[in-house]
């Protein structure tokens, strides 16, 4: 199954190697990994998505906690959460066929962030399936996509919580509507 771990790690050299090395040792491929500053000073927040057996979640989380530089680990599992990914897509476009792309971008609630005589760049934020939908449509015209840059997934639990709530949620039963990530309207207008 797909596991999503959210971790707070110290913002010092070598920490990412330690996290990555743990997955390498377990022979688990990391599907995506995003890291950036967090609300906590000197701590980075990372979202790591990987494919592993259902039972592996506990051991991975326990092993992550054993890393000295890892401060907090949350195994999102099937808890209600919001997951987003950012994609930048450079597409070949000239003054004659631009208009069609403008419509497409509108439909996908993406936006155009760069425009030249030969190409334009689309920025899109959303769930994985939505980004893949746009890429699929763009691929209908062969040779149109010049470059794709995707951030990997970022995940946050829904609702107000602090670490203690996270722990309580871990112990409790899995919420009924778990599994499906609910898409919200207007997400495309959120700042990237």
């Amino acid at each position: 199954m797909l596991h999503t771990f959210v971790a707070y790690v110290e913002d010092i050299p070598g920490v990412l190697t330690r996290v990555a090395s743990l997955f390498r040792r377990l022979n688990i491929n990391i599907n995506s990994l995003t890291v950036g500053r967090s609300e906590r000073p000197k701590l980075s927040r990372l979202t790591l998505v990987c494919e592993a057996s259902a039972e592996a979640g506990h051991r991975i989380r326990a092993s992550l906690f054993k890393l000295e530089n890892v401060v907090d680990v949350d195994d999102i599992a099937k808890a209600p959460s919001v997951t987003r990914e950012l994609a930048l897509i450079k597409v070949a476009a000239n003054p004659h066929n631009r208009a069609q792309l403008f419509d497409l971008v509108e439909v996908f609630r993406a936006r155009i962030v760069d425009l030249t005589s030969e190409s334009l760049m689309i920025e899109m934020t959303g769930v994985e399936s939505k980004i893949e939908g746009l890429i699929e449509v763009l691929r209908e015209d062969e040779g149109r996509i010049l470059e794709i840059c995707r951030s990997g997934k970022m995940t946050m639990r829904r609702g107000h919580h602090v670490s203690s709530v996270v722990k309580a949620m871990d112990a409790g039963p899995i919420v009924a509507d778990a599994g499906a990530v609910i898409e919200e309207d207007g997400v495309a207008s959120e700042p990237a």
């Binding site: 190697t17 330690r18 090395s21 506990h58 051991r59 326990a62 906690f65 054993k66 000295e68 680990v73």
Partner: protein, 604 residues
């Protein structure tokens, strides 16, 4: 001592510091914040952490530290190879329960530590390795003797550090000690650049104290789990206690004993658990697993409850997992949450320090009648029990098992035995009956040949008043035999028993059982070990017959210095019983009928 050798080689920095200290005694303990070089801070911090003995080898980048050594009350043991330094620090830690310290220079000095670090990692041994590296501005340039040792040791250390500022040395070393000893112990490496050694900073030991250790956030010993565990123990008909290395690490010997005696539950030991529960105790069954006695493994397969204490269900213990202890409920008491449900799915997990958990559990355990189950196990010993081999008629042959048994008998079981890896290690575990913790020192998890001699040197420094024996095969002994010179230089008394069968015995045994006796690369030509010892100034004797064992062992014990015994044992003897790798516990290869060590029903 090694420090004296450096006294005459004063560099300009050394003079400056000597002036600053205004010639105060070498045993300076810095109580007030003082400006020191990084090199001095290394030693001052180690002394502050209670270190008085380190094992190391000098070299280019660590020279500033060696130059400063003479000012500190630390005994430095000069090894012959850095692997020896790591094993000595490991042996020191296992014998004493304190943190062992190894020192090495950059490049090959640090890579030579790696096997020793991995050995400590696999067996959860608290150890701090201090290595030097090239100056920080040269890092990453492939400078002479530069190697990325923090990168190399990342998977085999509990944690490691790269320090490139003098002011970070004290806090980092103190943090390293905290990590090494806390939670599940393990080795920590601190790599210090040469410029950090040379630069100076204010040394303030107290201010360098690390934050309070954070227990693993997933430790959990709940009321419900405790109640469930107590209920399982109450209702069990065929329970067993497993005592692992954690018994000693957490100091839970009394608690395990109380649990076993109160509820009349037999105790099986892992290899590293030996000594955690007295072998002479009527409830002690002995070692479990690949070379465990048949009645122990049979009992595990028949048990209806396993209470696993401070052990990790290693593959050498479980055999084939799908057939392992199918009839048993399992309670796992373990300090490392990552070990719970890793190999064996358990019914109740009590994740915390073993001693604390048992203290919470014991008030819920009342007396219980375990006689029927104990009787069943006793009866199962029957044909397969090892008879007391001292009563065997002397057939003229010398078996390694004889040597182990006689060593046990003659030392009163009181010595620290440090084994290497292989057949002799298993015979030791079977025939030397350890009643006390920290009296068997052996590489269990990594199975490191060459471990015994250096680890024994470390153990001797930890426990100078104890009798220390190296028990090594002819193969493993040659891997680190250079440390004989260390024994002589340091003038320590260690007894060495080489169990010499002319083969890499355990590999030969596997070849015999599983590779049609194709003895590829296992016959082993060795030097005359008695002459080798003699070349070092260590007396020795070859032993070829059972009748000679006692006199030889007593001669070694009586010798004022180190002594080597070369036991020329039966060449193609095998360790029984044996569970082939990947087989289930009940599929063990039992002792063959022709084996003179097998007991028959007629034996008394």
């Amino acid at each position: 001592m090694a420090a004296k050798g450096h006294a005459s080689a004063k560099g300009p920095e050394a003079k400056a510091i000597a002036a600053e200290e205004s010639g105060s005694s070498a045993h300076t303990r810095f109580n007030a914040p003082t400006r020191l070089t990084g090199a001095e801070i290394i030693w001052a911090t180690l002394v502050g952490e209670g270190v008085d003995t380190v094992f190391g080898y000098p070299g280019g980048t660590i020279l500033p530290a060696y130059d400063a050594l003479r000012k500190f009350p630390v005994r430095h043991i000069l090894v012959r190879h850095e692997q020896g330094a790591a094993h000595m620090a490991d042996g020191y830690a296992r014998a004493s329960g304190d943190v062992g310290v190894a020192i090495a220079t950059s490049g090959p000095g640090s890579t030579n530590l790696v096997t020793g670090i991995a050995t400590a990692m696999l067996d959860s041994i608290p150890m701090v390795c201090i290595t030097a590296n090239v100056s920080s501005k040269l890092l990453g340039t492939d400078a002479f003797q530069e190697v990325d040792i923090t990168g190399i040791t990342l998977p085999v250390t509990k944690h490691n550090f790269l320090v490139n500022r003098a002011e970070d040395i004290a806090p980092t070393i103190r943090h390293a000690f905290q990590i090494a000893r806390s939670n599940r112990p393990g080795p920590v490496l601190v790599d210090i650049t040469k410029d950090a050694e040379i630069n100076s900073a204010i040394f303030d030991f107290d201010a360098a104290k690390p934050r309070t250790n954070r227990p693993h956030p997933m430790l959990h010993v709940g009321e419900a789990e405790l109640a469930e565990a107590a209920e399982l123990i109450r209702n069990a008909k065929r329970p067993m206690i497993f005592a692992g290395h954690g018994v000693m690490e957490s100091g839970a010997m009394e608690q395990i004993r109380t649990l076993a005696e109160r509820a009349q539950i037999p105790v099986a030991l892992t290899l590293l658990g030996i000594g955690g529960f007295p072998a002479s105790h009527p409830l002690c069954l002995g070692m479990m697993g690949m070379h465990g006695e048949s009645w122990v493994n049979d009992a595990i397969q028949e048990a209806d409850l396993l209470i696993a204490c401070g052990m990790r269900f290693d593959d050498r213990v479980t055999g084939k997992l799908t057939d392992y202890a199918q009839k048993a409920k399992k309670i796992h008491i373990e300090v490392d949450p990552a070990e719970v449900n890793k190999n064996v799915k358990v019914d109740v997990a009590l994740v915390g320090d073993l001693r604390e958990v048992l203290e919470q559990l014991l008030p819920r355990i009342s007396g219980r009648d375990g006689a029927a189950w104990l009787k069943t196990i006793e009866a199962s010993k029957g044909e397969s029990a090892v008879r007391d081999i001292k009563n065997l008629p002397d057939s003229g042959h010398l078996y390694a098992a004889h040597v182990m048994h006689d060593l046990w008998r003659l030392t009163g079981g009181d010595a620290i035995i440090v084994t290497d890896v292989g057949q002799h290690q298993m015979w030791e575990a079977q025939y030397f009956h350890h009643d006390k913790p920290r009296t068997l020192i052996t590489s269990g998890g990594l199975g490191t040949m060459g471990y015994a001699l250096p680890a024994a040197i470390g153990a001797k420094f930890a426990c100078p008043e104890k009798e220390v024996w190296v028990v090594a095969g002819d193969g493993g002994f040659q891997m680190t035999a250079a440390e004989l010179a260390t024994i002589v230089q340091e003038k320590i008394k260690i007894n060495i028993a080489v169990i010499n069968n002319g083969y890499l015995g355990m590999v030969r045994q596997w070849q015999e059982f599983f590779y049609d006796s194709n003895y590829e690369a296992t016959p082993l030509v060795s030097p005359d070990f008695v002459k080798l010892a003699d070349a070092h100034g260590i007396p020795g004797r070859a032993v070829r017959k059972r009748a000679e064992v006692e006199a030889a062992v007593e001669e070694a014990r009586a010798s004022s210095g180190a002594f080597l015994l070369n036991f020329m044992v039966e060449k193609e003897d095998s360790v029984y019983p044996m569970i082939p790798a990947g087989s289930a516990l009940h599929e063990m290869i039992r002792r063959p009928g022709r084996d003179p060590l097998e007991e028959t029903a007629d034996d008394e």
